[in-house]
């Protein structure tokens, strides 16, 4: 949508702009300005900027979202172990961690020899594109194939903020119950892949029905693939690795398209000190 041709005037809002509509009246001495801007314009702009950075280094970026304790860090640890052990084609990974407090998760990741940038959000319940942009100043993207962003554990707020990732992965852990997609449609609608995590608990938490979770996902028109897995015992992890593999290959063509579109032509309001790139357009 844009601000020039009027394509942002939709069935939903056109009634407001017509004469007599809420946006049409103007009293003397006052001026009514029709805007029709997304409130998240600024964030989305920075997110596009981040995405251009990732693309210019052909880095696949995945935003992991879930409620607290659904197993995002455990999934990352298990993923790192496997990807590092891949014979012949070991992938280089970096992780950006978002938490309200502590460096605990970043330290868990660093124990595996993987670079982890911890963003401590304080009271903020989500990561936004600006925080990721700051973190990018500390990462030499040329060294990596994949950047995982582990968002703040929260099924509400992170869904509203584009970070510049290529894909969203939502975890739904067995102890949470299978109706989370119905309760948090915004989050689960944004997911490109849904992982039902902690499936090793299914025998004891047998009121969680994976088929029911899939039904709730269909109800919100989600066609995201759904994998059942356990990072703890390794079951079902292969489907996740295969999906990652396919997406890493797909990223090659995404990055190529992005560079031909040259969508990185907005001007910078600050100096860049990214470790190794020289592609800033002006």
């Amino acid at each position: 949508m844009c601000d020039t041709c009027g394509c942002n005037i939709t069935h939903g809002n056109e009634g407001l702009i017509r004469p007599g509509g809420k946006l049409a009246k103007t009293e003397s001495g006052k001026e009514a300005v029709t805007v029709l801007h997304s409130l998240l314009d600024e964030n989305d702009h920075t997110a596009a900027h981040n995405r251009a950075h990732f693309d210019s280094h052909n880095v696949l970026t995945i935003n992991l979202m879930s409620s607290p304790g659904a197993g995002k860090t455990a999934l990352l640890e298990a993923t790192i172990k496997t990807l590092q052990a891949k014979t012949g084609s070991a992938l280089s990974i970096a992780v950006i961690e978002g938490d309200l407090e502590t460096e605990n998760d970043a330290e868990r990741i660093r124990k595996h020899g993987v670079e982890a940038i911890q963003i401590v959000t304080g009271s903020a319940c989500h990561l936004d594109a600006h925080m990721i942009h700051q973190a990018l100043h500390q990462l030499d993207l040329a060294k990596y194939d994949i950047v995982f962003i582990e968002n703040v554990g929260n099924l509400v707020c992170p869904a509203s903020f584009d970070l510049g990732q290529h894909l969203n992965v939502a975890l739904l852990s067995v102890p949470e119950g299978d109706d989370k997609p119905a309760k948090y449609p915004v989050m689960f609608r944004s997911a490109d892949l849904v992982l039902i995590s902690k499936c090793d608990l299914l025998p004891v938490l047998d009121d969680f029905k994976p088929a029911q979770a899939r039904q709730y996902l269909h109800d919100i028109a989600s066609d995201a693939p759904v994998f059942e897995l356990s990072a703890k015992n390794g079951s079902g992890m292969q489907a996740w690795f295969d999906w990652l593999d396919a997406e890493i290959h797909a990223q090659g063509s995404r990055a190529a398209v992005s560079s031909t579109h040259a969508d990185h032509d907005h001007h910078h309001t600050h100096e860049h000190h990214h470790a190794s790139h020289r592609h800033d357009s002006r």
Partner: protein
Amino acid sequence: MHELAICQALIDQIESIAAERDAARAVAIVIGIGPLSGVEAQLLKHAYPVASAGSVAEGAELVIEDLPVRVKCTQCGEESDALPNKLLCKHCGDWRTELIHGDELMLMSVELEKQSVGANSTAGEAKMTLH
């Protein structure tokens, strides 16, 4: 509760629109929110006085339009109203729909009060002289 962050983004936009148009202050702001934007209108209303304090939008009326959820079926092509967690086609019942409305989070309009000629304008309701 990310509504304060959203509200701050709103105030930033109002500030720059007011500056572009040389306005003294905003008197009314209309935003449109769809239920699938992930933003709660009531929380936004609570955050608004805090976020707008000291800005050109301080004291401006915040009008929130609740926008409906509409989907278009990718199978039968029909459009229908839907609920945020039931985005099914009302005509053929299929789940493979596209959201056409309902995730908006939009600044729709702002009503501005112009700067008065002369330095000591008051920011009240008094009639202002236009440039």
